[in-house]
């Protein structure tokens, strides 16, 4: 039988393992230190555990780090890592350097079930869930690990469709025994699966980003099939229940498509729709994907759209396109070519 990975276990789970193996209780904290704070990759290297304890652990468990098998680097410094998964598939991770920041964009699923019209990941369908360990591994196992300042769950997959593992991964990142990062450095982005949204808002302190893309129901359901199951109104009703005025932030992602969602009518409707929600909007340039009928809006319209939203009092930014030449930019991550039929 294959050994189970320790990497990706919470402190509570490690305490359970230590109890089961009759190891001292404090060993769990020691193991967590080795897993999440130190530069080792094997149980043998956990040298403050007794030799006997290491042997007992090693009988049933592996350390559990997974090496990336490919890295590509963009002309703008963005890197894209390819990681194998436990079910024989692959996911991609982007590392985006920007002045004194290094942001890692992690994947939460292998492929995606959501089928958004503008997204490359959706075109490969769904090949499985990532474990918390496989999510955290995307940060811990890149050379820039200790320089990472921000984490965004905007890679492959829909985080709220794998919420147990996503919440476990954010727990590992934000706990004192884990990476000890501030939750304000972590943003989880979703298309708005309502039960997952409510649970995330209750159980996590990380920032929230919602993929909005158009304020009109009819338009949105043609871009994003999830609109039929969980309409935007329902998502926003839930968000209105939460106080985002202080440190926790909600933002809305808005890919701007030529002639589709870049009109003054969209600005007006957005202002109406987001009234009463303290938020910001990130405008994203569309990066065309194969077989898409959608086109990117031109720069002048993009700027005009931004100004229109700002005149309505909504803080709006235009996200820089990064890593486009290596298909690491927003909406381009895909391991479809590696999916075996």
């Amino acid at each position: 039988m294959a050994k189970e990975a320790l990497f990706g276990k919470t402190l509570e789970e490690l305490q359970g393992i230590c109890a089961e193996l009759a190891l001292p209780k404090f060993a769990a904290k020691q193991v967590a230190d080795w897993l999440y704070k130190k530069h080792v990759s094997s149980i043998e290297e956990m040298t403050n555990l007794s030799k006997k304890a290491r042997e007992v652990l090693d009988e049933k468990y592996t350390f559990g780090l997974i090496e990336s098998t490919r890295v590509q680097e963009s002309v703008d410094g963005t890197k894209k890592y390819l990681f194998p998964t436990s079910n024989g598939k692959f996911v991609e991770t982007a590392m985006i350097p920007d002045k004194d920041r290094k942001t890692v964009c992690v994947s939460s699923q292998i492929g995606c079930k959501m089928g958004c019209l503008f997204c490359m990941t959706g075109k490969q369908g769904f090949q499985g869930q990532l474990t918390a360990g496989e999510i955290v591994n995307q940060i811990r196992n890149i050379p820039e690990w200790e320089e990472v300042t921000n984490i965004v769950y905007m890679g492959m997959g829909e985080p709220f469709d794998n919420l147990d593992e996503v919440l476990k991964s954010t727990q590992i990142m934000t706990s004192e025994w884990g990476f000890a990062m501030s939750p304000r450095r972590i943003t989880v982005s979703s298309i708005g699966i309502v039960p997952g949204l409510v649970r995330f808002l209750n159980e996590s302190e990380c920032h929230l980003a919602i993929s909005l893309h158009t304020p009109f129901h009819e338009e949105r359901q043609k871009l994003m099939p999830v609109e039929i199951a969980y309409p935007l109104d329902e998502v926003l009703d839930e968000i209105r229940n939460w106080d985002f005025g202080r440190q926790r932030r909600v933002s809305f992602e808005y890919i701007v498509f030529h002639g589709l969602n870049d009109t003054p009518a969209h600005v007006r409707e957005m202002a109406k729709l987001l009234d009463g929600i303290k938020c910001r909007i990130n405008l994203i340039r569309f990066h065309p994907i194969p077989d898409t009928p959608l086109k990117a809006t031109d720069e002048a319209t993009l700027v005009e759209f931004k100004e229109g939203l700002e005149k309505k009092g909504i803080t709006t930014t235009i996200r820089a396109s990064r890593g486009q030449d290596i298909y690491a930019a927003c909406g381009l991550l895909s391991t479809k070519a590696l999916v075996k039929n």
Binding site: G115, F126, D161, E234
Partner: protein, 226 residues
Amino acid sequence: MAKAEEYIKKDHKLYEDTVVGNVEISPGVFLLSVKRRKDFLPGQVVKLAVDRVQPPRIYSICSGNHEEELRVLFNIKEDGYLTPKLASLIPGDKVLLTEPYGSFIGSQKPAWWIATGTGIAPFYSMFQSGLSDNKMLIHGVSYLNQFYFEDELDWAMGKNYQRCCSREKSCDAFPGRVTDFLKGKSDLPTDVQYFLCGKAIMVVEVRDLLINKGVPYENIIAEIYF
């Protein structure tokens, strides 16, 4: 773990209803019935739960909007929480469900209905609601016993009911997937609506294929089971 009530406090309200039937229509696939208490539009969904421990899941209504019963079609997911429990329900047991809602709605306009597996449910509801004129129904499955309601559909829709089976052969079914069948069609109308319902991979592949064949994406509406 928090209770479902906390997660659905702003969600559609669940009300309790009594099961009036639960029939295994094919191995592992069930048609669950309750008395219809609310009006609905064919193609709409309900959220369904067996308790207040886990959040409800969304199911397309699989019955006509003039019938006395409201039915849903589901298959058992062995590692799932809800479907094994749903499968064990018998008449008289209680379930929790919401009022019908959703905008995947059929009409009298000409359209193609394209489904895989239990994705046939909203189209069967549209069919049972009298909306099958001017429609082409394509149903893709892996095995022949997954053509749910095929006798009725075949009798009523005739050549406008196309079966596609990828793993077994039959003289009544196209041998292959829905996408294989559509690839071979050179005369797809581009001015009708296309309704797609099923797993994500079918939806994205069929959507790409239709767009490549000249169907405007605005004419395509998809419901994905996730």
